[in-house]
């Protein structure tokens, strides 16, 4: 396994996280150390030939009947409003 080049600031941007400069300095080497430890996977024999296990359960296509069922009561969720109020997502420049 080749050790990857890690750009913590780029990853933070992808993950929509803001890191302070001290956090970035602290986390950067720690993540490199963690990722470096993953090279232990090289010791698993014939790894590439194995199928991946994304889930351990046996369930497949579990669907409920397409019937209307009671849900959360509208007044309980919205109170006196008829819509949700959230903070603005888009701002004018």
């Amino acid at each position: 396994m080749v050790q990857a080049k890690i750009s913590v600031s780029h990853l933070a941007k992808l993950a929509n996280l803001h890191l302070s400069s001290p956090e970035e300095k602290l986390i950067g080497p720690q993540i490199e150390e963690v990722v470096g430890s993953f090279s232990v996977l090289d010791r698993v024999s014939a790894l590439e030939k194995l199928p991946p296990t994304f889930q351990v359960g046996q369930n497949e296509n579990i669907l409920r009947p397409d019937e209307v069922q009671p849900s959360l009561a509208r007044p309980k969720i919205l109170g006196k409003n008829t819509f949700f109020t959230t903070k603005a997502v888009l701002t004018k420049k």
């Binding site: 396994m1 080749v2 990857a4 890690i6 913590v8 990853l11 933070a12 992808l14 993950a15 929509n16 996280l17 803001h18 890191l19 956090e23 602290l26 986390i27 720690q30 993540i31 150390e33 963690v34 990722v35 430890s37 993953f38 232990v40 996977l41 010791r43 698993v44 790894l47 590439e48 194995l50 199928p51 991946p52 296990t53 994304f54 889930q55 351990v56 359960g57 369930n59 579990i62 669907l63 409920r64 959360l72 309980k76 969720i77 959230t86 903070k87 997502v89």
Partner: protein, 474 residues
């Protein structure tokens, strides 16, 4: 005089309280008052609870009325086995009457609009929620030190951590601040704090108990389960929280598991001891397990030393899979729909999200995430092979007893290292139980775990019940 550091204390089990309630020797109000007093007395020091139910006493009085009004009390308790009995719930299960925070600032004071299936099943069985317990924030950790609302202390030594992430649940049970509690495990979060606090922790087969309303950490691994004072109570709670749930498509399509654990030994059992697991453990922990082994040999139980995959491989697989799923699950916390914005994530959550983002990112997905999932297949195959030779596996739960506070922050794989002996079985979705195997010279509890094949809870609970009896005889 040295300040008091040991706050551990036993209290009657759920089944013991249930018998007294049924015979009307005690009132639910008295039971609830007993635990509320203990919480008042000890929680300033231990910080095991994030919230305490202000309605608990009223609910107890209501339960008392139901009990005194019932003509057939036995029948009443068959229908509602937890009637009037208190339970502590880890704060990552959604509750309607109390806030649900997952010990995170982002969800501080958040009130869930719906209830976790596990919680509604417990309430339907008559349980009274005493309060919500502290944990590592988002369940990220094995010490309860990453909680955004202060660490929990280990009741056996308040200078040490209780383990985690269900550290508050384990500490509450160990300090008589609840007779039993509910926790959740992704890999170790029930068994490891149970081991470090000297209580029983059961992690069922993946899918046995519904994840609906459990704040997701790593969805392919998360598993609710009980932390109790004995094996019989663990079986009692499993019977209530298990069973197929239409809200969780990964839940096992079987009804609930009604098991009454039997301490009588099944002499046909072969118990496997994984050499690598013993070697990783500290000498004092090894000694306790070896003592159990020699006791089993005296009972003529077949013991077979087996070789499992190096736990360091499982640790890497777990770190990759879990952090990948964490980064995906925590992406929903954007501060727009509910909770505060992403700047409120603690350092540990940020570390995990960023590592998870990395292993899933273009160019690295195949190298890390996909290879980890392939190695996960190897882990499952390895267990399948082992269970071809032995019925159950016995091993230490954790490489050490409870450690001193302050270790977590400097160590980026702290949680994974503490859970090295439980990660493989969690990745394979297998059930396991941790029970107390004695104490170190310093008086700290040592945990022994029993791991079985998928859906072997009955076998595990029966053997655990036998072992519990044998250990207590000493």
């Amino acid at each position: 005089m040295k300040p008091k550091t040991n706050f551990a204390e036993k209290s009657p089990s759920l089944l013991a309280w249930q018998e007294k309630l049924q015979k009307e020797e005690v009132k639910s109000e008295e039971i609830i008052s007993f635990y509320l007093e203990k919480i008042k007395e000890k929680d300033r020091v231990l910080n095991a609870y994030l919230s305490v139910n202000p309605q608990a006493l009223d609910q107890a009085r209501e339960a008392d009325r139901e009990i005194s009004g019932a003509a057939d009390k036995k029948l009443l308790f068959e229908k509602k086995p937890l009637l009037g009995l208190p339970l502590a719930i880890k704060d990552n299960f959604c509750t309607l009457d109390l806030p649900t925070t997952a010990a995170s600032r982002i969800l501080e004071n958040w009130q869930a609009p719906y209830e976790a299936t596990v919680v509604s099943r417990l309430k339907k069985a008559g349980a009274i929620i005493l309060g919500k317990t502290n944990m590592d924030a988002w369940a990220h950790g094995s010490s309860t030190e990453t909680s955004d609302f202060g660490e929990t202390s280990n009741p056996y030594d308040i200078n040490r951590v209780p383990g985690g992430s269900s550290g508050g649940s384990a500490a509450a049970v160990a300090a008589a601040m609840a007779p039993a509690a509910i926790g959740s495990e992704t890999a170790g979060s029930i068994r490891q704090p149970a081991a470090w606090c000297g209580v029983v922790g059961l992690k069922p087969t993946y899918g046995r108990a519904s994840r609906w309303g459990l704040i997701a950490m790593a969805s392919s691994l998360d598993c609710p389960g009980p932390l109790t004072q004995d094996v019989a109570d663990a079986a009692l709670l499993l019977a209530i929280i298990s069973g197929q749930d239409p809200h969780d498509a990964t839940s096992i399509q079987e009804p609930s598991l009604e098991i009454k654990p039997n301490p009588r030994l099944d002499s046909s059992l072969t118990i496997g001891i994984p050499r690598q697991y013993l070697e990783i453990a500290a000498p004092e922990i090894q000694e306790k397990i070896e003592k159990i082994i020699s006791r089993l040999e005296k009972e003529k139980i077949k013991i077979k030393f087996i070789s499992l995959l190096d736990p360091k491989i499982s640790m890497a697989v777990y770190a990759i899979v879990q952090r990948a799923e964490v980064s995906s699950n925590l992406a929903r916390y954007d501060g727009i729909r509910f909770g505060k914005n992403r700047s409120f994530f603690g350092l540990e959550a940020k570390r995990r999200i960023i590592t998870g983002t990395f292993v899933l990112s273009a160019g690295y997905f195949d190298q890390y995430y996909l290879r980890a999932q392939k190695a996960r297949t190897k882990i499952s195959q390895n267990f399948a092979q082992a269970f071809g030779e032995v019925d159950l596996i016995l091993a230490p739960t954790s490489p050490s007893a409870a450690i001193e506070k302050g270790g977590q922050e400097k160590e980026p794989l702290f949680g994974e290292k503490q859970d090295i002996l439980v990660e493989a079985s969690s990745l394979a979705g297998l059930p396991g139980i941790s029970l107390n195997a004695g104490f170190t010279k310093e008086g700290l509890p040592v945990g022994a775990q029993i791991i079985g094949p998928a859906k072997s809870e009955e076998k595990i609970l029966n053997f655990a019940c036998f072992l519990e009896k044998k250990i207590s005889e000493n």
